[in-house]
Amino acid sequence: MNYPLLHLTTGYIRKHLLQNILLILGIAFGVALIVSVDIANQSASRSFVLSKEILSSKSTHHILGSYSDFDERIYQNLRLKFGVRNLVPIVEDYVNVPVLGGRTVKLLGTDFFADLIFYDNRQSPLSSISEHALTELIAMPGTALISAQLAQSAGIDAGDVVEVNYGSKTLNIKIIGLLNSKSDELSKSLGGLILTDISTAQELLDKVGFLSQIDLLIDGENPQDIEKLNLIRDYLPSGVEIKEKSLLLGSAKSLTRSFELNLLALSLLALFVGVFLIYNIVSFSVIQRRSIIGTLRSIGATRKQIFKMIISEALAIGIVGSLIGVLGGVFLGRGLVGLVTRSINDLYFTLTVTNFTVSPESIIKGFLAGIFAVGIAALVPAYEASRFRPINVLRRSTLEGLFAKSLKLLGFIGFLFIALGYVLIIVSTKSLVLSLISVFLILLGASLLVPICTALLMRLFSLVLSPLGLIGRISPRNIIRSTSRTAVAVASLTVAISVILSVSIMIGSFRSTVVNWLDSALTADIFISMDSANISSQAGVPNEIIEQVTSYPQVERVATVRRILYDSPEYGLFNLVAVTEDLAVENREFIWSESQNNIIWDKMQSNSILISESFAYKNAIEPGDGTVVTLQTDHGAKDFEVAGIYYDYGSQAGVLLISDELYRTLWDDDKITSLGLYISNTKNIETTTELLRSGLSNYSNLMIRSNDNLKRSAIKTFDRTFTVTSALRLLIAIVAFISVLSSLMALQLEREKEFGILRAVGMTVGQLRKMLFLENGLIGLASGLFSIPVGLALSFILVYVINLRSFGWTLNFTVEPQYFIEAVGIALAASIAAGLYPAYLVGKEDVGKLIREE
């Protein structure tokens, strides 16, 4: 850009500082959201890897039991009989540390001599440990190492004994040394770890004779290694598998993928709203300067120069906004990481490490997204500006006339987009990405329909409001007469409000579905489980509790539940749940079942199982007789007949429900995850709960909860997992608010002269303000009204398409009036707030000055 144009630009920006600050803010918020969600997603992934891959990051394969620990002799045989050397045995589980505020960490025991295989080329975390401490670690029971960082946060010193909760036991662990690592990554992953010798871990975690995992290093290009791998595969007994590490991480990651994708989509929505804001303000700035641009053109500025001037101006602002956005995103990301990690902990698996990684990619991605959005949004106005001919630039009505003519075309294109989006949803039967794209198409289409709808609605308002007098009549007319600008404001507000509305409806539907489901699924009166804040722990309720509990006269009968996270080659990760009786026998709601509820349970005694909707969806199991699920049991492969597919919202991974009797004969597992007690007199639930609590007080960490109590805490967890979504919804609202604020404010500020004339010909300040607020209110109302159908359509997609494709479950669509009130309320509030400053100015500036402006 040559100097005079640059000068004009900077002068313009200075003069319309507020407008440009709002533009920068809008871009910044949009970018900040993208960056923070990306940071949160990436950090969660890193946390996952760091939590999983604590020591043996050089390993390539893992040997794992499909649901729990396996016989340690497998390791011995592999080394002694098969001569496999690069093997590291691991015994691990999750424990809670009271001095860390009950934080969940992993207690991991390994054979340090075997582990050395993996340390040829890297700094070992043991480097900071004295030989004396290492000797003690191996030779003395109950000893452990923790990271210096963890020790510091817990106020622990080497030599201290720390209490750790595992299952119903409280373990006393002597910390004999503190781990330090020069490697940043390693020290992060050590932050969630209690490291012990393998023997110590077996003893502390009641896993004597068992291993949790074997890490292997296999060179995929070495034929001998491949041969060895095949040997291992053949040797491993049923229920124990060797898996490539990358695939393993992948399969666990795929669980959270939908979750992260949804977050990403929400952040893109925010930027989408941001694009409207940018378009709005840039096109506005062009209109504001149409006489300057006309003059420039008439004195010889080329179209290209004008185009470049507008684009570069927008990009300059875009760069500033994006830079601020990136910084804000890092800041915001910090908060978001916590929320996302907690959601993953609640929903998927325990992360012992909360990582906060700001990768250059996240920064660059966000920054480029900001610049790209600005570029796209500024393209049309810059082109328009370059088309200005010196003669007609002053003619406002020409511009509006053109826009008015294109309303129908825009509406038609919008309709096409919506149709395309709809078709895409129908055509893409399972793809989450495509359904998210169609959400965007529908939103874009809706926003293109907004101008014509606005014009129609305002005509209606004009009729309806005309009895209210002049102001009532001309306010809608004013909006119609400046549709080229008001429509964009209405569209962006509509998009934002419909997103907010649809997310509200989605969360609300989800919540009411879960509440209903809890009511039907939790039928026992009192539940006993372990107090562990994590879903990955394998610790169960001590078996002898059953007898103790049965001895209470109030207890009519006891049902047991065994819930394990099962990893099978055929069905991936899912929950295998074994129950002694179907706790939801009468109320269980089926999508499909082969017979009556009461017969199903009988069938489950022999060979039948039930699967949850998400299990069926994930594995594309269609309802119908004769469907069979094959699992590797501890006694070989076995086929199970699917007796029904039921609604379940407890596990995204899917649930396979089996009768306890069948489970115990096929799997060598005697553990119990929780108990459900039926009380003879249900009036006494709370008192019996208290009685049990005191009676079983010798078991620490035992959680005895009444039905109500459990439901409440389940709903609390539910609400917590949606904090992220709610937070993002709020941020979108903020972007929308800024967008509307800036565009409407700019719109009103541009009318200074008009206001001056109105004042000169006798309009009072009060009347002027009334008009101003009425106009803004109408814009807000229009957006609110438009957002209702758009929001409803979106929420249908979210509830019936996105949720099904993301998580594999069907929700009951629930709509409450408050959502609409809220949506229209936000729209009105934003647009009325936008009137405040212009209304203030109107009263302040003197009329003479206003008229003189030109």
């Binding site: 003619r395 406002r396 007098g469 002049l470 007319r477 109105l758 010909v761 300040v765 003479g848």
Partner: protein, 232 residues
């Protein structure tokens, strides 16, 4: 606010009027101890160079601007002590203004522009439209009621402005360089129209202009010099 005494009654009185503007760190006196009286039905021409203070004086009379000292009387009302709200009502009801740049509201069509001050009063829309239609007929735009200002020629726009100035049947018409933005022929037409409508309705009209054409029509001609009015 109806007029009680229609004939030869002093309509506008200016007493010791002073107005300064701060310009480049020095006070420039635009209106300096100015005294004047204008009677009903009088057509007064203010002549002077650009920047001599014609517009300022008109703005002071219309209440768009406030004097530093002195008094402005419209009829029995001392307007410079009024609140902004009251001033607006005076402007709306007792003063009609015609600007050099027409100053029509671009988002309103011709008839809406004209009815605007009337409707701001809460007047019945049908009545207002009837009156506006009559006025527009009078100024020669009876056929263009629904056009928007920016497709009208300058002369046409000024005709609309004149109609607007008359809609509330004001005591005073203030015209600030009403022909300043028009070609000579059109300027004459507009000037004649203004004089004609003022005479017809017996209004006091003050026209600020730099054109000497006006001398032929005005009852009184003043020049502004050093912030004061000189006859002739």
């Amino acid at each position: 606010m109806s007029k009680q005494n229609p004939h030869n009654h002093t309509n506008i009185k200016l007493k010791s009027l002073c107005k300064h503007y701060l310009e480049a760190q020095s006070n420039v006196s635009i209106v300096n101890n100015l005294n004047a009286e204008f009677k009903q039905g009088e057509i007064v021409a203010l002549i002077g160079k650009s920047g001599s203070g014609k517009t300022t004086l008109l703005n002071l009379i219309s209440g768009i601007d406030r004097p530093d000292s002195g008094e402005v009387w419209i009829g029995e009302t001392l307007i410079n002590s009024l609140s902004e709200e009251e001033l607006t009502l005076i402007r709306r009801n007792r003063v009609g203004i015609v600007f050099q740049f027409f100053n029509l509201i671009p988002t309103l069509n011709v008839i809406e522009n004209v009815t605007l001050p009337r409707e701001l009063n809460g007047s019945n829309r049908v009545v207002a439209r009837g009156k506006a239609q009559g006025l527009l007929q009078r100024v020669g735009l009876g056929e263009r009621l629904n056009s928007y200002p920016d497709i009208l020629s300058g002369g046409e726009q000024q005709r609309v402005a004149i109609a607007r100035a008359l809609i509330n049947d004001p005591d005073v018409i203030l015209a600030d360089e009403p022909t300043g933005n028009l070609d000579d022929e059109t300027a004459n037409e507009i000037l004649e129209l203004l004089i004609a409508v003022a005479r017809e309705s017996d209004k006091t009209m003050i026209i600020a202009t730099h054109s000497s054409e006006i001398i032929n029509y005005a009852d009184k001609v003043y020049t502004i010099h050093n912030g004061n009015l000189n006859s002739g």
